[in-house]
């Protein structure tokens, strides 16, 4: 097999590629632009996270409800407003508020009673925007913390707590508790009453955490340590977004490769190629080589931009990074050959191929990391070549893993390339009537 025809095909395809400004923009500029956008959203820089808009409607105005409101207003994850119930509901409907919490009249009293006994628990009404289900869970957790803190603080040190202790002492004889249990609880409550009567107990209300006035707080502090490529190396979300977008646009370029072959056939150019004394493998190899070169060029330009502008680094093995890049490029170009082999008209083929590429990159974790997928879907995505490409680039960039971590993604993608290539040769319509 002579190399000259292959080189000629590669040179011609590159000339055609650079002649087509739309193709160059789509392949070189678009991934940079979109990856920059996604990177800015998903980057793990220590920036203030977007606050969740929460409305709290305090219809109780008790010390407990005021405590909950104050706690929520001081929370760094929430942006709290205090509209009326109607306004809050309307705001959720409009989407300007994610969650509205209604603290009904008598909530404080009922919550206090429920805190010490099996009395009925009061309702806390929550209205939420169903398109923000993830935020609802977060708000619910934050609210639990502030309700527990406010109720316990008031019960242990506040006026409402004193009143509750007095009432419980008066009703103690009428409870179903045994005599021994009544004695023990009376001793406890009388000790609590003595505590309330101490001047220092109620001074400095709403004291800091750790003081009795602080109520029940989380009994631990979280020490967060992001595991990246090394000590003091921050996670760079641009590494993932550039990998994902490069793969997406490389696969889009592979559609151009496949549709280009169909167009060449439509224009009679393939007749000239087939009438020359060159093998079918040579013809497809030439096409695959030019497709792979364009893909590698896309990766090189995009990652160079990411490195210079966003500080993305190959913290793992450079050889592994190159191996993953080459395997990705070869996989994408053979995918283009397969598109040409199974495609019909250029227009129809482009539509179907675009859909399959979008599904492939979506399931491959190119848009958002695949860990947010359900477990069954994560298992399913191992048959998606884009998933291996994304994982391979992640491993070699921000995860900083060794060459060994590149072996499996590289091998799997080359396996896909072999499969696509064999299918393309088998299914290609070689006869030119």
């Amino acid at each position: 097999m002579s190399i000259r025809p292959i080189l000629a095909m590669v040179r011609k395809d590159l000339q055609l590629f650079f002649h087509d400004r739309r193709a160059v923009i789509m392949t070189m500029v678009a991934p940079i632009a979109i990856a920059s956008f996604f990177g800015s959203i998903f980057s793990g820089n220590n920036r203030e996270p977007a606050k969740i808009a929460v409305a709290i409607v305090d219809q109780d105005s008790s010390p407990i409800s005021r405590g909950i409101l104050a706690g929520a207003q001081g929370d760094r994850n929430l942006r709290v407003t205090t509209p009326s119930a109607d306004e809050a509901r309307a705001a959720v409907k409009r989407g300007t508020v994610t969650v509205a919490v209604v603290i009904p009249p008598g909530f404080g009293d009922a919550a206090g009673r429920a805190f010490f006994s099996a009395a009925a628990k009061p309702d806390l009404t929550i209205w939420f925007d169903p398109s923000h289900a993830a935020e609802l869970g977060l708000v619910r957790g934050i609210l639990t913390e502030h309700v527990m803190q406010s109720v316990s603080a008031e019960m242990f040190t506040g006026v409402q707590g004193q009143k509750m202790v007095d009432e419980t002492l008066q009703r103690l004889d009428r409870t179903n508790l045994s005599a021994q249990q009544q004695t023990l609880l009376r001793d406890l409550l009388q000790s609590a009453r003595k505590f309330y009567n101490e001047p220092s107990a109620t001074a400095g209300s709403n004291g800091g955490n750790g003081s009795p006035r602080g109520g029940i707080t989380l009994p631990y502090a979280v020490k967060e340590d992001a595991i990246t490529s090394g000590e003091n190396v921050a996670y760079n979300g641009y590494a993932h977004s550039f990998a994902g977008m490069c793969i997406q646009f490389i696969l889009f370029a592979s559609i151009d490769l496949g549709v280009g072959i169909l167009l060449e056939r439509q224009r009679g150019l393939w007749k000239r190629l087939r009438s020359a004394p060159i093998s079918r493998v040579t013809l497809l190899a030439g096409k695959a080589a030019s497709g792979a070169l364009v893909a590698l060029l896309t990766l090189a330009v995009s990652f160079a931009f990411a490195m210079i502008v966003f500080g993305v680094r190959v913290n793992g093995s450079l050889a592994g990074f190159v191996a993953v890049a080459v395997a990705t490029a070869v996989m994408a170009s053979t995918f283009g050959l397969l598109i040409a082999a199974v495609g019909g008209t250029p227009g129809g083929t482009r539509g179907i191929a675009s859909l399959s590429v979008l599904l492939m990159v979506m399931l491959g974790g190119a848009w958002v990391p695949s860990f947010i997928f359900p477990a069954w879907l994560q298992r399913l995505t191992v048959v998606i070549p884009a998933r291996w490409a994304v994982d391979g680039f992640d491993a070699m960039t921000w995860r900083g893993l060794s060459l060994g971590a590149a072996v499996m993604p590289t091998a799997v993608m080359l396996g896909f390339a072999l499969l696509f290539g064999v299918l393309a040769i088998a299914r290609f319509r070689w006869e030119e009537a």
């Binding site: 009679g268 150019l269 007749k271 000239r272 190629l273 009438s275 093998s279």
Partner: protein, 246 residues
Amino acid sequence: MLEVQGLRKAYGDLVAVRDVSFSLGAGEVLGLLGPNGAGKTTTVSMISGLVTPDAGQVLIGGSPLLGDTDVKKRRIGLVPQDLALYDELSALANLRFFGSLYDLDSAALERAIMASLQLVGLSERARDRVGTFSGGMKRRLNLAAGLLHDPDILLLDEPTVGVDPQSRNAIFSNLETLKARGKALLYTTHYMEEVERLADRVVIVDHGQVIASDTLAGLQRFAPAGAGHASLEAIFLALTGRTLRD
């Protein structure tokens, strides 16, 4: 130089070509005529290796043409009916690419390109994009692309479709020059006057079969009775009928 023996090709139940045989010698022009769907293009495709025959064989210089990579394909030059050129590239870039498919080294390729461009009168426009060319210029370049590897046999599939009389005349001159150089030309067309001007012999096919094969003078025996010296078109219509072949 070229011998076609018993070629047959079917697509499912449709037999496009059945038992087609003819030969073509050096310095000879053979006109291959037939109505639409008669099997002309399928026959040319089998000769040039684009389609594998179900039966029969193509002999080049006495040896059968075997497979995609058979070096005997270098002796065949195809000028397809389509303008098989890249509009986005210059004439030079097009010819460099098509010539490289025949594994010509750089110096030989450049010489062949210059000679081909000179023959078709496009030397001055070598560096211009093909997309800027007129239909006639593209047709001439299409011809030049089939000549780069200096083939002995040239397969011309309707090479003058859609060109003005000046370009057509220029192409005829080119073909006469090639004939004079000893090239064997297989020429398919619907324009009878072109065959009358160029061809030494004519093969008429219909429904995939050869229904007449002779010199222009010899074909007179198929002329309608009492027509005297009939035109090729009259003979053609007498042989193939006047029913439309859409």
